[in-house]
Subunit: 435 residues, 2 copies
């Protein structure tokens, strides 16, 4: 990877350097699969809401056509052969491929926070001696609210049941060893629930190691993969992850508020010893419509579905997943490492002085194995001014108060030239803001 960045015939800071990488990029054609907003550089969308796949727009319109032509019959007689009664089946395999799972282990359902609650109902079984849930101190607020409120609903005071872990004094990211130490030390932890990629710092956690440590210590280990899915390689099955949840509107480009995803390890596929929040859509398809009062769950993750899924959110996700399937997550990750590596290298080269004087810092680990595509740039002063100036120039990045701007070039539709332009704009902006 670094090889490619080092052996170019053009100087790193030249536009030709970027253009040359774009020419060599075998994935560049996938940019055409998306609607790219006019007159601007895209560099931070996907950490919030990814761009629209043309395929998703098309598929949504096909659902509208079917609804209009068939009405209720769309459930079993669909204009495009995707009957609504089984529409959720279509996304299982591509989702499984994306997270390194078997189809029986995954499903699309509900929303992220709501799925986290469902999973806690099933996997958080507090006892007298084990009653804590471990999350990051800087977890995304919804995860905080989720876990605190969930504990309260079980009659456990979050002051007692909520355990958080923070980076060491003066550090921004968590050390795996510190997480594992805590898991080993605190014997009251029932569930470890961390994020795969940290939304604020962009750190990619060592999911396999931490999961193993959790298991060795007798804990259940679940993951919030909001910023990891579609961004990094995941092998949830092999890593023996117990459960994982994610949303699909960030790197999976399914549109704001899109349908979320759920992974439950195969080892639980017929486990009926644990309680679950059940609904008719989790009932075995074979007799789902027979209206029996006894619940007979589908195998695996599908058995946790509650309601018939939205055709619009499911099909929009399918459109995006088809692009992922065509590009291949391995290829994407490879390009992503190069793209973000280039971003980092160009930043530290072009803003050498600014980095030396701590006007800007990168919070994200520099090891590509410890991050996804996102770099979190910290501006200890006047971050919002930098952000506004960038925005005024049509550079779309994402601000996280108080001090961070997230840049997340995505291998599906960002070019090396996008990255080049971003860095050059940032340089100009910093000159103005900090002049």
């Amino acid at each position: 990877m670094t090889n490619v960045l080092e052996k170019s015939e053009f100087p790193l800071s030249s536009i030709e350097f970027a253009e040359n990488l774009d020419t060599q990029d075998k994935l560049s054609k996938f940019r055409q699969e998306f609607v790219i907003p006019l007159r601007r550089y895209v560099s931070g969308e996907n950490a919030v809401t990814g761009l629209m796949p043309k395929r998703s727009r098309e598929l949504i319109n096909e659902e509208l056509t079917t609804w209009g032509q068939k009405g209720v019959e769309g459930h079993w007689n669909h204009t495009y052969n995707r009957p609504w009664a089984t529409i959720d089946e279509l996304v299982k395999e591509p989702l499984a491929n994306l997270v390194g799972a078997k189809p029986v282990e995954v499903t699309a359902m509900n929303t992220l926070t709501s799925n986290l609650h469902s999973m806690l109902v099933t996997f958080f079984r507090p006892t007298e001696t084990r009653f804590k849930i471990l999350i990051e101190k800087k977890a995304f607020p919804s995860d905080h609210y989720c876990v605190s409120s969930h504990l309260e609903s079980r009659g456990i005071d979050p002051k007692i049941g909520l355990l958080t872990i923070a980076p060491r004094e003066g550090e921004h990211t968590l050390r795996t060893e510190d997480i594992i130490d805590l898991i080993n030390k605190d014997k009251e932890i029932a569930v470890v629930m961390l994020s795969g990629v940290q939304y604020y710092t962009g750190q990619l956690f060592e999911i396999e190691k931490i999961t193993k440590a959790g298991h060795d210590a007798g804990c259940i280990v679940g993951w919030d993969l909001a910023h990891a899915v579609g961004n990094v390689r995941l092998f949830l099955h092999d890593w023996q992850v117990d459960f994982a949840c994610w949303c699909s509107y960030k790197y999976l480009n399914s549109g704001a508020g899109g349908i979320a995803g759920l992974f439950i390890h195969e080892k639980y596929k017929n486990d009926q010893s644990r309680p679950r929040l059940a609904g008719w859509w989790g009932n075995d398809k074979e007799n789902r419509f027979e209206m029996q009062p006894e619940f007979r769950p589908s195998e695996g993750a599908s058995g946790y579905q509650l309601s018939n899924p939205s055709i619009f959110t499911t099909i929009s996700l399918l459109g995006s997943l088809q692009v992922f399937e065509a590009a291949g997550i391995d290829n994407l990750r490879q390009k992503s490492i190069l793209l973000t590596g280039y971003l980092e290298k160009l930043l530290v080269t072009e803003l050498k002085q600014e980095f030396e004087t701590d006007m800007i810092r990168i919070l994200t680990p520099s090891d590509p194995q410890q991050r996804g595509c996102q770099l979190s740039l910290e501006f200890p002063e006047n971050m919002m001014q930098v952000f506004s100036q960038l925005q005024a120039r049509g550079v779309i990045v994402d601000e996280r108060k108080p001090t961070v701007i997230r840049v997340s070039p995505t291998p599906l539709y960002n070019t090396f030239k996008d990255v080049y332009n971003f860095v050059m704009q940032l340089k100009q902006v910093m000159n103005i803001v900090y002049k």
Copy 2:
């Protein structure tokens, strides 16, 4: 109402009778607001999935346009001035109007079964002496699964905690007095959770009376309004209902798997004494994006939202609600009573002999105050043959095994002539099936 049916200048069984009613129908223009599938009579769609409002199709396409033009910026800078960050605000008022509530009491979120679970977390607070949930014996299966699994998740055996009520021997519908008797007798009931309109029989329960009886007996009273919302008049606020949940894909025509609705009475609007499943979208809008680890709920129903809502499902619902607002639920209910009254009268007239020989029966109460638009027709024998023959003739009704066909002419888009045609087709079909 019966007046109109009685004083026509045309004989009841003539097509002119129907045509005359259509001519007088002030709501007939709303049919144009929907895409009506070609070459068939529509009479039972909306008990499953209502037809597509043209407005919903348009609004969904506007969201696609915005997504394409703005990308992530759609959250605050929307092509059609409906920023995604507050898109759920748009449906609160029309939803409130529809269910007889204040805007603070309602929100659109998640899905029906999932919202029922949320509400049980909040309102089912079992004690040593009160630990039962009362539902109908013939409740929709998802409600069965929901309540049973919910009880299990609290460590309560459904054999002990699930209480069901069935109609008297030989009767099809529940008597209000029997429900109230049971509520008064069994002091262990914590929550009464019935459906507003019964999905199988079409019975409209006496929500106000039952709610009052429940309260007098010290219970919480919640309602599954899947088949009631958009079908009958509701006054959830005045009736002092504690909570209610509904889906939006039946009478609300928002498309299969559409976003569900939630009502929580104003008296709980600042109640933080009860636990809830929380998420960031339930946090006060004022500081939702400040990423504070402490949850500060929005007032009322919005405080129970978990996740950022889907733009597609929300906007599709908005399109439909705009049609309801234009037509007026009072006018719609008035027409509905006439439409279903006509259906009933024509059926018993045209199929006099079949009714007398019990080849067909109406399970739904004949009192318009005890039903919505749906009539549940029971065919003790060969129901599926009747259904298939109807389907072959392009008559869309809905079968519920073992013996029921649901017919639910809707005042928004069905005509009196639709009803006429349905009855005439049914007559022919019965002649064939039972010859």
